[in-house]
């Protein structure tokens, strides 16, 4: 097939299908006592307008359905890599990690490096840092160093990066920071660290998540209201593009929304709508779309065991984004149209079960197969013990890395690009997914974009509603999960998941983090120049009040003066106010 068919083939096939249904299918249904078949066979009549070059194209070319790049090397299961594409010349961040104090995490990174990691850090920050609270804030009680590393000041950040020097100097590795509301502060810290080390800042590579829109919709680590939050995004965009040209400016994605309950259509539609809002924000601030778009990334979409639909989602996402950047923003460079993301299809961490937890490995393998078929590494994630709340064990991590290696080297899944291209079924699913997500995009656009849609509560309510529906479906049995609401027995076997080897993170360190951080903060506040702290914070406030100015230089001054993350965010809260979600229950 090289173009759409107008030679009457479809009519012939449609007629043949009707005959087949009557002559062959119906008797079979009767024999199995079925009212209608439980499955379906797809043919060319299901994608009558299919045009290979228009709808799929070659990998690395518009519309990128068959892949973002013409070819892509993978090294499944490279140790400590997070299983993302690894190859010569690629600067990558390692596996998402971080806990306790900066000292604890630096020691962990040093161990990973000693074990062979050659990638930069992929930093998990603790929740107080993500929400802009210092470790000694009332809001931080119990959370310090838990979900990630506590970073209160530039001194913590400097400590965090101590293992990355010499061969792994910060101009040689990429960093990833899962940080949204305070993304400006973390980028300011990286900028200052490079200056301090005499590293050329224009060579810095890294990705702040900076996807504040999805925080309002799903993840909840917002600080300022949506409008001022987008001002911070704008300022980070314009500063980065000018001063840190190799830094990505945002890593958007639907996966967090999916976890929080979004359907496949909402996942993709909201991601695209948010992408449009980010691009528009940059373009309205005067940035050239072909400078900004290549600096935008996505982290992940999707997340379910529904293999074919998840592959279709990835294909549809690449095609939609290419069309959006090219057609809605008039971008002229093909490079700008590529949907850049490190992850493809996956099982979705929220699908990991506490019941019979070893089954999660089977689920993750299905996700790994889908990942490979969607054009990415055969990442088998998460480790089976994800849902147990104990942290990943080394056994769990080894099993997941080995599974990816098996998919690459034994099942040889990475030797073909887009193996489902041209499948009547998958092409049909890809079209359906794109159409449904496009409706969602237009709905968001009818509010003037994501900010308006969030202010109106539309996006949050849609996710809440589908979250409750998804969970209800488990109760009604409409959705079956093995070992949870199906195939259980009165006498469940006690499956042993004894974590025999050392945990990845130290329990004592995690428990002691709050006290240590508070001690460090007290000491810092005593040592630093209080007047300089007050002056830089005041200056930040006055710049923040002027919509036409960029806060980044002021934030860099604050960081240099040893203002804490909580103090900087506090100054911004003072100017813009704090966001509180509407607590109305939907459904």
């Amino acid at each position: 097939m090289t173009g759409s068919r107008d030679d009457g083939t479809d009519d012939v096939v449609r007629e043949a299908r009707a005959t087949w249904e009557k002559k062959t299918l119906e008797p079979a249904c009767r024999r199995f006592d079925l009212e209608r078949p439980v499955d379906r066979f797809y043919g060319p009549d299901d994608v009558p307008d299919f045009d290979f070059l228009r709808d799929v194209g070659f990998p690395g070319e518009y519309p990128f359905t068959s892949g973002p790049y013409p070819t892509q090397p993978f090294a499944a299961g490279s140790r400590g890599t997070g299983l993302i594409p690894q190859a010569k010349g690629l600067a990558r961040a390692g596996r998402y990690s971080g806990y306790g104090t900066a000292e604890n995490t630096a020691a962990y990174y040093a161990q990973m490096i000693a074990d062979g990691q050659r990638a930069g850090p992929n930093v998990a920050f603790d929740l107080p840092t993500q929400c802009g609270y210092d470790s000694d804030d009332t809001h931080a009680v119990g959370e310090v160093g838990r979900a990630g590393v506590a970073i209160d000041s530039f001194e913590d950040f400097r400590t965090l990066y101590e293992p990355f020097q010499g061969e792994l100097e910060i101009d040689k590795v990429g960093s990833n920071w899962t940080i949204n509301a305070p993304a400006t502060i973390i980028v300011a810290m990286y900028y200052l660290l490079a200056q301090e080390r005499g590293v050329d800042v224009t060579r810095l590579r890294g990705t702040p998540q900076n996807d504040i829109l999805k925080e309002f919709i799903a993840r909840g680590t917002y600080i300022l209201p949506p409008g001022p939050s987008m001002r911070m995004v704008r300022d980070l965009f314009t500063f980065s593009v000018t001063h840190l040209p190799k830094l990505n400016v945002v890593s958007g994605g639907g996966y967090h929304m999916r976890e929080a309950g979004a359907t496949r259509e909402l996942d993709l539609g909201f991601s695209m709508a948010n992408g449009i809002t980010y691009l528009r924000t940059g373009v309205e601030a005067g940035l050239d779309v072909d400078v900004l778009a290549p600096r935008m990334t996505f982290n992940a979409f999707g997340g379910s065991l529904d293999l074919f639909r998840e592959v279709a989602l990835q294909r549809a996402a690449r095609r939609m984004w290419a069309k959006i950047v090219r057609d809605r923003f008039g971008s002229e460079k093909e490079r700008s149209w590529v949907l850049r993301q490190p992850n493809g299809a996956h099982m979705g961490y929220y699908n990991a079960t506490v019941n019979r937890p070893v089954n999660n490995l089977t689920r993750a393998v299905v996700g790994g197969i889908a990942s490979a078929m969607s054009g990415y590494g055969p990442n088998v994630e998460p480790p089976f013990d994800e849902a147990l709340g104990l942290g990943w064990s080394r056994e769990g991590m080894q099993m997941s890395e080995d599974a990816a290696r098996i998919l690459q080297y034994e099942a040889r899944l990475t030797e073909v690009r887009d193996p489902l291209a041209g499948s009547y079924y998958v092409e049909s699913l890809t079209d359906e997914t794109e159409a449904a997500a496009l409706d969602v995009v237009e709905k968001v656009e009818s509010y003037g974009g994501s900010v308006g849609a969030i202010e109106a509560g539309y996006m949050q309510e849609a996710v809440s509603r589908s979250a409750v529906e998804r969970t209800m479906a488990l109760q009604t049995g409409e959705r079956l999960v093995v070992g949870v609401n199906a195939f259980t027995t009165p006498d469940e076997i006690e499956v042993s998941v004894q974590q025999t080897s050392a945990k990845v993170y130290g329990d004592d360190e995690m428990r002691g983090a709050e006290e240590l951080q508070i001690r460090k903060l007290t000491d810092l506040r005593r040592r630093r120049d209080g007047q300089e702290v007050a002056r830089t914070l005041r200056s930040l406030e006055s710049v923040a009040k002027d919509e036409n100015r960029n806060v980044m230089e002021s934030i860099i001054d604050c960081v240099r003066a040893s203002c804490t993350v909580g103090e900087i965010c506090g100054a911004l809260r003072g100017v813009f106010g704090e966001y509180r979600e509407d607590r109305t229950l939907v459904g």
């Binding site: 929740l127 107080p128 993500q130 929400c131 609270y133 009332t138 809001h139 931080a140 009680v141 119990g142 959370e143 838990r146 979900a147 925080e215 799903a218 993840r219 909840g220 680590t221 976890e259 929080a260 309950g261 929220y350 079960t353 506490v354 019941n355 849902a387 147990l388 709340g389 104990l390 809440s464 979250a467 409750v468 969970t471 209800m472 109760q475 949870v484 995690m510 709050e514 509180r580 979600e581 509407d582 607590r583 229950l585 459904g587």
Partner: protein, 152 residues
Amino acid sequence: MSTGTHERRSAPQPSSSQGRVLVAKLGLDGHDVGAKFVSRLLRDNGYEVVYLGIRNTAEAVARAVVDEDVDVVGLSMLSGSHLALVTRVFALLEAEDDDIPPVVVGGVIPTEDHEPLKAMGVRAVFTAGTPVADMIEVIADLVAERRRTGLQ
């Protein structure tokens, strides 16, 4: 909910609902699917739900418990901060009042932490593996108990 639970509770009720339950996400994690689902489920089962949403401090929860006069308090946490935060909630409630409503906890709570939580006074711990019917029954029993003791 089992009908047996209904029949057992014969004492006059302060409100027409099955009970008044406060549901809150305690701490900073935004994973609210569980809390929202439980709220919805309780509401569908005839309970009155006071939903506090995400990112509540122990202080905010303690204040709401006192102000809202609820029969049961449900706290949801998925970030691993449960021991520290629940300790703080109990400390604040005990300072405030000697008549604390029963508190239940849900979320990602490792088995090894269930006993320490119960030692603090938590009446039940619900995880992703808890059958919904069991949870509803526990809540019904706690409401019944609360209303019995409240009438004495």
